[in-house]
Amino acid sequence: MQTGTKISGVAHLVLVGVAIFGGAFKSDPLPFEVHEVSVISAEQFAAMTASRPAPDVAAEPVAPDALTRPDPETDTPEVTTEADKTPDKALPEPTAQPVPDPEPESQPAPPTPETEAAPTLEQPQPEVVIQPQEISPRPQPRPVDRVAPVPVAAPPPDAAPDEVETPQVNPDEGAETPQEPTKATAPEEASDRIVTEADEKPASLAPTSSVRPPARPANRPKPPSNSQSATSNAVNDAVTEALGGAAPAAPAPTGPPLTGGEKDALRVAVSTCWNVGSLSSAALQTTVVVGVSMTPTGKPQSGTIRLLSSSGGPEAAAKQAFEAARRAIIRCGAKGYDLPAEKYGQWQEIEMTFNPERMQIK
C-alpha cells in the first residue's frame, strides 16, 4: 500500500484518539516560583544580563531557598499569599490578571513581559531577588467591614451600597431626553482578606508572621479538583467540537457550548452575593450542592432552589450553609444573570457547589 495511505490512516487514528482521550492528558501546570520583580529600565536589564557570567560562581554557596522566598522581615506577607494564589486561578489567564491594590506598579502593560521574563532570569537569581528590598512598602489592606474576592476601593461618600456601580445622575436642563435623577451607587468598599490587629503594620515591627504562613497549605489542595472538572469539560468541549456541535434536538436552544468566560461570569456574579460572614464555623466547613431552575431571562426560580447534597458538616450546619447559598442566588439573580439566551438549554438547570473551604479565616 502506498505510504500516503499509511500516513493518512495513522493521522486519522491519532486525530480520533486525541479527540476522544486528549482531555485525559491535561495536567496541572507545573507550579512555578513567582519571584518578586520590580519595573526596571532597559539599560538596567542590559547591565544585568551583561554581567551574567560572574554571578554563576558566586551563586553556588548561597542557599537558593533563602533568597527566592521573599524575606518576611523586609517584605510584606500579603504579597507571598498573593503569589501563591495565582496558580489556583483558572489557568488560561495570564498571571498578572488578578491585580488588586497590593501591586500597583504592575498595572500598565509591562506585567506580561515581566512575568515571562522571570523564568529567563533564573540564572542571575541573586541580583533579581535583591531588588525586593528596594520596593517601597506596599499599601496595606486596611481592616474593612466587607471582605470580597476582588477588593473594591472606598466608594464616594454619598453613594448607596449596591453591587453595581452607577454614577449619580442629575437632571440636566438642556438635555434632550430627560433622565431620572438617580442616586449614585457603588459597590461597598471591600478588602480581599481579613486583617486582624495582629496583622496590621508589619513593616514597622518584625511582624508576628505566625499568622501568615499556615494559611498557605490550606490554599494548596484545590488544583486537583479544578483540573478534574476542567478535564470533563474539555472532553465535552472537544467532542462536541469534533462533531460540529450537532446536538440532538432539545426543547430549548442549546447553541454552542458555554464558554469559560460565561461560566466565570455566572460564578463571579453569585460569589458577590454569597455572604459567609454570618455563618457559624461549622457551616463554614460544610460544602453544599444547590440545584436551581432558571427562567429564560436569566432569573432563578426561587421555588426551585433545593439542597441536593451536603458534606463536611452536621445537618444543622448544612441548613445554614444552604440558606446562605439560596440568599446568594436570589439576591444577585434579582435582575437576572448575564447568561446568553441562545444557550438557554445549557443553563436552564444549574447545580452550584458552594465550597467555603477557602473562606475560612483568610
Binding site: D145, A148, A198, P214, A247, K263, V276, G277
Partner: protein, 443 residues
Amino acid sequence: MIRLLCCILAALVAAVPLVIQPALAQQGPLRIEITEGVIEPLPFAVPGFVPDNTAATDYGKQLSQVIAADLSGTGLFREIPASAFISPITDFAAPVKYADWKAINAQALIAGAVTVSGSKLTVRFRVYDVFSGAELGNGLQFTGNTDGWRRMAHKVADAVYSRITGEGGYFDSRVAFVSEAGPKNDRRKRLAIMDYDGANVQYLSDSSTIVLAPRFSPTGDRLLYTSYETGFPRIYVLDVGKVKRRALDNTEGTMSFAPRFAPDGKTVVFSLAQGGNTDLYTMGVSSGKRTRLTSAPSIETAPSFSPDGRQIVFESDRSGSQQLYIMPTGGGEARRISFGKGRYGTPVWSPRGDLIAFTKQSKGRFHIGVMRLDGSQERLLTASFLDEGPTWAPNGRVIMFTRETQGASGRASLYSVDITGRNLRPVRTPDGASDPSWSPLQQ
C-alpha cells in the same frame, strides 16, 4: 495492513458515538463551583416593637435598640436605621411587605410586639428572611418581670443570631471583672459584675483590699477570686446572689491564687506558692480536701479545665520560659503545646472544646491568640503594649480580655474580639477595668 488500519479506524469511529452519548447526557445541568464569597455584615432591620398597650410604649423602642446593638456589636450584622424604612410595622400580625424591605436592602427583618400588665412584660417576635420572602423559624414569646426587659431583649437577639448564623447565642450573659480606679501606683480594685454589654454594673466588694481575677462557676451562681484581705493572696468563693464569701484555703505560710472551677462546679484547681515554688492543686469546694497535681521546681499557674473536665491546660516555665502544657486532671505527664517564639501564658479552654486562647509575649508586644489543642494553627488576634487574660463567650466565638495602655497614666480597660480577629471593640465600663470573666448563657 490496510484492512487492519481500516478496521481499527472504523471501530474507533463507531466507538465515538458511544463515548459521545454519555458525554452529551452529562450535559444535563450546568455545574459550577463557588469557592469565593464575601464576608460582610448582614444588613438587618428591627423596627420598634409594637406596643400592645400604652404602658408598653417605651419598652417597644428600648427593646429594639438593645437588640440592634447586640446584633451590630457582633460585627456580623449591620443595622439599617429607622430613617431608611419605607413602611413601618404597626401591626405584628399583618403580613410583611417584603418589597419595601428588599428596596432598602434589609436581608433580615425582626418584627416584634410587647405587652405590659402590671410588672409583667411579654415580648413576641418573628424573624423574616426578606429575600426568600418567608419567615425564618417560628415566632417566639418571652415573659418576665419589667425589670428584666434587657434580658428579654438579649434573649430575642440570641434567637435571631442563632437562626441566621447557626452559632449559639451569647448576649444573655454577664461578665465579672475588677473595677480599677486611682493612679497606677495606688490602684483601688474591687469586684464588679455587669451585663456583657456593660449595663447594670454592680459592685461585689469594696476597694479596701486588692482583689484579682474573678472566675464564674459553670452555672454562673458563684465566683472564685483572689483577695489580699488577710495580707496574703488567698482564694475565695463568693455567692453572687447573696454576696457572701468564704476563704477556700488559708494555710499559714502559703499563698494561693489563679483559681478556676471544674465543669462539675464541685472542684477547684488553683496555684499554691510556698518556699519559692508555685504548683497546681485541686480542692473539693465543700470538703476542702487538697490534691497536689505538679511538683516541678518551676512556676506552674493559670490552670483551666477542658469542658469535659478530663484535662487541664496551664502555663509553666519548666522549659526556661513560659509555655503552655496540657495534662490529665488526675495529674500525670504534661505535654507541651506551645512552640512559637515568645512566652505563652493565661491559657483558657474554649467552651466548645476545640481551641485554647492565650496571651503571648514576643518582641516586647503582647498578643491575644488562639491555637488548636495540639498547638497547631496558632493565630494572633490582637497586638498592643499589654493585652492579657482572655475569657471566652459562652458560644466560643468571641473573646474578651484586658488591655492596658503604656506609661504613667496607663489605664486598663476591657476589649472584645471575634475569633476571626475581626471586630475588635472596647467594652464600656464606668471606670478602668481588668480581669474579665464571661458567665455561661443565663437560663
